[in-house]
């Protein structure tokens, strides 16, 4: 099992994908948060609460959670690449117990996703505090709280990488898997919400669980505004994180039961 995990890390290091991912983490984390901090939300076309307010800090850091599609896509690419390049033949020859192959990928990419998340939020945090100091603004939130708000999306990135790997194992076709993962994140769940009654399930859907984990809930806020109802109560951050992980493991379990058992040509 250890050998399989090590091999997955080697596989990850063998292409430039990790380099692009690292670059993306720095640009989306440090770059995006740094730019918004320096400009200041209060100077936007539609002025938003400034960094000296709690809402201002929350909305600037909350932008990070929009980028969960990236680690999810990376996980999907990692898994479906095996089918696309047909290397899955060699992989299953070296590890005939296919369940172990998926487990090794989940472990390796869980770690990689966490590293991605830490780089993303680490650079974001540095840019936030640096930008605020440069402008002489005192953040409207205690430093400890800011750090917690940064750690939560970092964990979300790790869990979304797992979700991506599991979705890739389920769907196998690279383009289809990417379309499903990214499409669900950005459109699928909003569409689901339009079905009467489904809104009540929102806290239990991946989007709601993500919102609970990251502490930033664009969907719920929008819905509350549009439907003129009160905000939908979410799970606790830990509950949301566990539920998301549960989704990933359930998808992986189904993947091992059905698609990964199929004949390999």
């Amino acid at each position: 099992m250890n050998a399989l995990i090590k091999a997955e890390f080697r596989r990850l290091a063998a292409t430039r994908l990790w380099l692009w991912a690292l670059l993306a983490a720095v640009v989306l984390g440090g770059g995006m948060v740094g730019a918004v901090t320096l400009v200041g939300p209060e100077n936007f076309d539609r002025p938003a609460p400034g960094l000296d307010t709690e809402d201002g800090v929350r909305s600037v850091l909350g932008m990070l959670s929009f980028t969960v599609f990236l680690p999810a896509a990376l996980g999907t690419l990692a898994m479906t690449g095996e089918y696309r390049h047909r290397t899955v033949t060699y992989t299953f020859l070296h590890a005939p117990r296919r369940r172990q192959v998926l487990t090794a990928k989940l472990v390796a990419y869980g770690v990689a996703g966490l590293a991605y998340g830490l780089v993303l939020t680490g650079t974001a945090g540095a840019a936030f505090f640096g930008g605020a100091a440069a402008r002489g603004v005192t953040p409207g939130m205690a430093t400890g709280e800011v750090l917690e708000l940064l750690l939560r999306p970092a964990l979300a990135m790790a869990v979304y990488t797992l979700l991506g790997v599991a979705a890739g194992a389920l769907i196998r076709h690279q383009v289809a898997a990417l379309a499903v993962v990214v499409g669900y994140l950005y459109a699928g769940e909003f569409l689901l919400m339009t079905i009467p009654g489904v809104k009540l399930l929102y806290p239990l859907l991946p989007g709601g669980a993500t919102a609970a984990l990251t502490g930033f809930d664009y969907a719920a806020d929008t819905m509350a505004a549009e439907l003129a109802t009160g905000p939908v109560p979410l799970l606790s951050p830990v509950g949301g994180g566990l539920l998301l992980t549960g989704y990933a493991l359930a998808a992986a379990f189904v993947a091992v039961l059905v698609p990964m058992r199929r004949d390999v040509y």
Binding site: A14, L17, H94, P96
Partner: protein, 325 residues
């Protein structure tokens, strides 16, 4: 390679694979012995790849068993240390270098790191080791596939059409490599739809067609048991065929003459000299004439659309006649 690895037999029994109503492999049984090269022959679509993938646990059989040294592939303790396989030479990540590719699977199989450099050198890939595989020629991919298969110094090797994409020099090199591996005591099963590619190196053959066994056994035995044929190329093929069947008082007549899909006549029951004499006496043109081996004849028939008529005679080939169509 060090020492003399003990080969293990590959045993296939009643192996069957159906895709819906399509029977890819049907009640196939044969044994591949260690220490020799076995050719796994049959036209394209005969079921060779499906059979090999069932032996390797990549495709689940509908019925029957396939074992290596008595164990199913998935039950081997460290499969890549026992069995190596090249199934699809293009199965490499285009962004990986040859060295990366080998290290990934070397790590997965738990084999020592120095194997990678040894194999890169042995297979003539050392100078291309750090190039991304998207720049590789088909021949280089075949070599990389072989290197991957040999990572665990396996006692059993299965190669699916390893000659594809190799130039004549590459094929000669491959023959030497496979002969060497078999001489070390390993079990070597190599599939091909081109007989000439493997004819010179195989000791045994397993011939299948439409998923069923046609012949299996040592090549020498097959050659001995089955009478030879004469292959004739002639622009007057139709007239020559009539003449050969009519025969002459002196040389006798052919038992049977088949017109092959490529226009060649396949003559049974006459020596090559008798065929040449008859053509000369009838003043018919002959552009080429060769004494074919029984395996060639068998193969030509398989590649064509006719039933394997040469096998109608019970003396031919092995006792697997019940499997013939």
């Amino acid at each position: 390679m060090s020492g003399r690895p003990q080969g293990l037999p590959i045993e296939v029994g009643g192996l069957t694979k159906r895709f819906g109503h399509v029977r890819a492999v049907e009640d196939l049984s044969f044994t591949v012995r260690p220490g020799v090269v076995t050719g796994f022959l049959g036209p394209n679509g005969a079921g060779k790849t499906t059979t090999m993938r069932m032996v390797l646990g990549l495709v689940a059989p509908t019925a029957g068993t396939a074992t290596i040294g008595g164990k199913r592939y998935a039950d081997l303790p460290r499969p890549s240390a026992t069995v190596g396989a090249v199934l699809d030479a293009s199965a490499v990540h285009p962004g990986h270098s040859a060295r990366d590719h080998l290290h990934i699977y070397r790590t997965m199989g738990g084999h020592p790191p120095e194997r990678v450099d040894r194999l890169l050198t042995r297979l003539g890939l050392d100078r291309a080791a750090d190039r991304r595989t998207r720049t590789f020629s088909t021949g280089m991919r075949q070599r990389l596939g072989l290197a991957t298969a040999l990572l665990g110094d396996p006692r059993v090797l299965l190669l699916d059409e390893p000659g594809n994409g190799l130039d004549p020099e590459g094929i000669a090199w491959l023959r030497g490599l496979l002969r060497g591996l078999a001489a070390e005591g390993r079990t070597v099963l190599v599939s091909s739809h081109v007989l000439s590619e493997v004819q010179q190196i195989v000791d045994d053959v397993v011939v299948i067609r439409e998923g069923r066994l046609v012949a299996a056994g040592p090549l020498a035995e097959i050659e001995r048991l089955s009478p030879g044929t004469v292959l004739v190329r002639s622009p007057d093929a139709a007239a020559l065929r009539t003449a050969l069947l009519r025969g002459t008082a002196r040389g006798g007549a052919a038992d049977r003459v088949d017109l092959m899909p490529d226009g060649t006549l396949c003559v049974y029951g006459l020596a090559d000299s008798a065929v040449a004499d008859l053509a000369a006496a009838e003043q018919l043109r002959v552009y080429g004439l060769s004494a074919g081996t029984s395996l060639e004849q068998l193969f030509l028939r398989l590649a064509g659309d006719g039933a394997p008529a040469g096998l109608d005679r019970p003396s031919a080939l092995t006792d697997e006649g019940r499997n013939r169509r």
